[in-house]
Symmetry: C2
Subunit: 203 residues, 2 copies
């Protein structure tokens, strides 16, 4: 059975119930084999509601992505003085997803499939452009705070955040399209060394 | 009209002609809308040959990927003493694809779509695991040579190559699923600074 992320366990309202059903169905079937019918199979209320609210599978999935982005926006950690270093550690943990057991592989697979829709669907591309921008701003803000607090070297926050994001995206795709897990660990080790030796100010 | 890469302009033989037709059809239709019929439309010989040789669209596309990998294996640059630095520059150029006008965006889009098939298709995942391994070995070999020649710092070649590959993959996906080109330039700038200040031995 698919383990729902906490915010989808009891999201409330019809839209919340639809979002939970979509999450479960997406993990179960992936993007290609997903249909509104199959989302309906995970939905406790009347299936006709789904057809009433959404014109197509993609229409529903775009609303689902929007819902997920709102959750990320609300849950993004707030940090105070002196814990920027820990916060970068958290970003690296999230990037490489080790120990991030809250995200099932099936969900990452589905997100990579959704992302590949953006190669030929403008609505998906608009969405990923916007969500990437949000995450990048957050990373740049963390780096900027670290520089102001004297913990990070004087790097360019925006450029460094863009590199973080490339590594993040590459790692995510790697994880679900390549069988060699050791490569992820190698990449993580090299990235941590980069941060330690290049980004952090030596004690 | 799709510009063929040099090795597909006159590849020779039936398989070569099929490979050229596949390249053109893939650029024109992308993965999702591709059919053997549409590949046949770009094929000068009898279409029945396609059905004779291949059981399915994926069967044909996997043979096409194999063909492309063989080309990469044959064309991978050989370098001598003292040009390791240039060679890393070439790898970065290829990674970020600026000036790499030989690869049409449509082809990168198609490759990202094919890659996303690996989330649920073992044959694709086996292929990408193998081709990633080949490219990573090549990068690691270049880094190792750079260290031996005293041009690079004593980094771990394998880990560093894995990071290069994450950046490479992330950049490729970014390019065709996000509208903000400035991010690619930012990421490239940060990556070049990483190489200059962290990988290269100071003059």
């Amino acid at each position: 059975m698919t383990q729902l992320p906490p915010f989808l366990e009891d999201p409330g309202g019809t839209r919340g119930a639809i979002m939970s059903a979509t999450y479960v169905a997406l993990c179960k079937h992936g993007y290609s084999d997903l249909t509104i019918q199959r989302i309906g199979d995970e939905f406790s209320k009347s299936k006709s509601l789904l057809y009433h609210h959404y014109d197509s599978k993609d229409d529903l999935l775009l609303d689902f992505l929007e819902f997920m982005l709102n959750q990320v926006e609300e849950q993004i950690p707030v940090y105070g003085d002196g814990d920027v270093d820990d916060h970068i550690g958290e970003i690296v943990d999230q990037t490489f997803g080790f120990g991030d057991t809250a995200t099932p592989t099936e969900f990452t697979q589905a997100i990579v499939e959704l992302r590949s829709q953006a190669t030929h669907n403008d609505d998906y591309r608009e969405y990923f452009t916007r969500s990437d921008r949000f995450i990048r701003k957050h990373i740049a803000h963390t780096i900027r705070s670290g520089i102001e607090q004297g913990e990070f070297q004087e790097v360019d926050p925006q450029q460094t955040a863009a590199l973080f994001q490339s590594v993040f995206l590459g790692t995510m795709v790697f994880r679900v399209t390549n069988d060699e897990e050791a490569v992820l660990e190698d990449s993580r080790d090299a990235f941590e060394r980069y941060i330690r030796e290049y980004l952090l100010v030596e004690e």
